[in-house]
Symmetry: C2
Subunit: 192 residues, 2 copies
């Protein structure tokens, strides 16, 4: 496991009373080269990996953005422990046509783990388009077993993690960098 | 005032018991075209304008990023009211050499409004460099009146604001867009 996993697990544990401590902000780059930024929910790690799971709708803008520019940066602030993790890496979207059977299975499990109301949102009208009639937001409940076609799984593969602890005096900041050549992580204390 | 100012003021008021409701995540684009994302503190609006104020250090990476690509997107999540504002616009950095006397005055006021400990950070060793000796983090307290040279003010000029209310059933989402030709804002309900 990567060396930043243990401080991140600790932050998740110490902030567990706040449901929104599992929300983080995910920045991508738009097709016109401008940044985009939105709140997403952390859905755990992919088994036996350091890849973070999120879910998304293939009709959302970020789906097209990722295809053109897979690099992303997640900014995750934990209010109780006053620490920030900036996680830089590449995003991969697993949509309904992904040919990898193992990843398709993870996509299906992620669908099953959603709440009924979260699943229902994937049956709503096209996100971001002019507001549709109210009854389009009351579709029949989709199957809890088989994901709707628009549902996709997002995997963020971290390449660098910048951890800042605001509570220290002076503050502590640690930079974890994936060294592709050595297939290992370096850990470096840096100035806050 | 822009039409999104009133719902934003309401969110700030209803979340005022949480100090971190004034924290938001600011995404910019790195010189290599990858996104960057970090937490910043909202320092209010520039007088008689819709521009958001933040403070920064000219030695930080975002300072160089803004020069190359001024477009930014702030993502601001309010936990109590469960609403998100995505604020897209251009960033302008007001550093010590900015020739505009009015903006220099705002830069100085922003410095004066900081806490002692926040001001001290601008006298610390170069952010992001390998960790310096502990005593470099105990410099003499800087003047509370005259900003240190590295201190800069950031102004975000919004061009689009995307407001999402998670509490609605169905959720409400409103897109506010600045129309440069008409010098006015449009307001449009869109699908969440």
């Amino acid at each position: 496991m990567a060396p930043w996993r243990s401080p991140l697990a600790r932050a998740l544990h110490l902030n567990r009373s706040l449901p929104y401590a599992r929300y983080l902000q995910l920045a991508t780059v738009r097709l016109d080269g401008r940044p985009a930024n939105r709140t997403v929910v952390f859905r755990g790690f992919l088994d036996r990996s350091d890849r973070l799971k999120f879910v998304s709708d293939t009709r959302s803008e970020k789906f097209a953005q990722i295809e053109a520019q897979p690099w992303a940066e997640a900014c995750w602030y934990f209010p109780k422990t006053r620490e920030q993790f900036r996680i830089t890496g590449t995003l991969k979207a697993i949509a309904s046509d992904d040919p990898d059977p193992e990843l398709q299975q993870v996509r299906t499990s992620s669908w099953r783990e959603l709440s009924d109301s979260a699943r229902l949102q994937f049956a709503w009208a096209h996100p971001g388009k002019p507001r549709a009639a109210d009854d389009t937001f009351n579709p029949p409940a989709p199957s809890a077993e088989v994901p709707l076609p628009h549902f996709c799984l997002l995997l963020l593969e971290p390449m660098q993690v910048d951890r800042l602890e605001l509570r220290g005096d002076p503050q502590n900041r640690t930079m974890y960098t994936w060294l592709e050549g050595d297939r290992t992580w370096s850990t470096q204390a840096v100035n806050p």
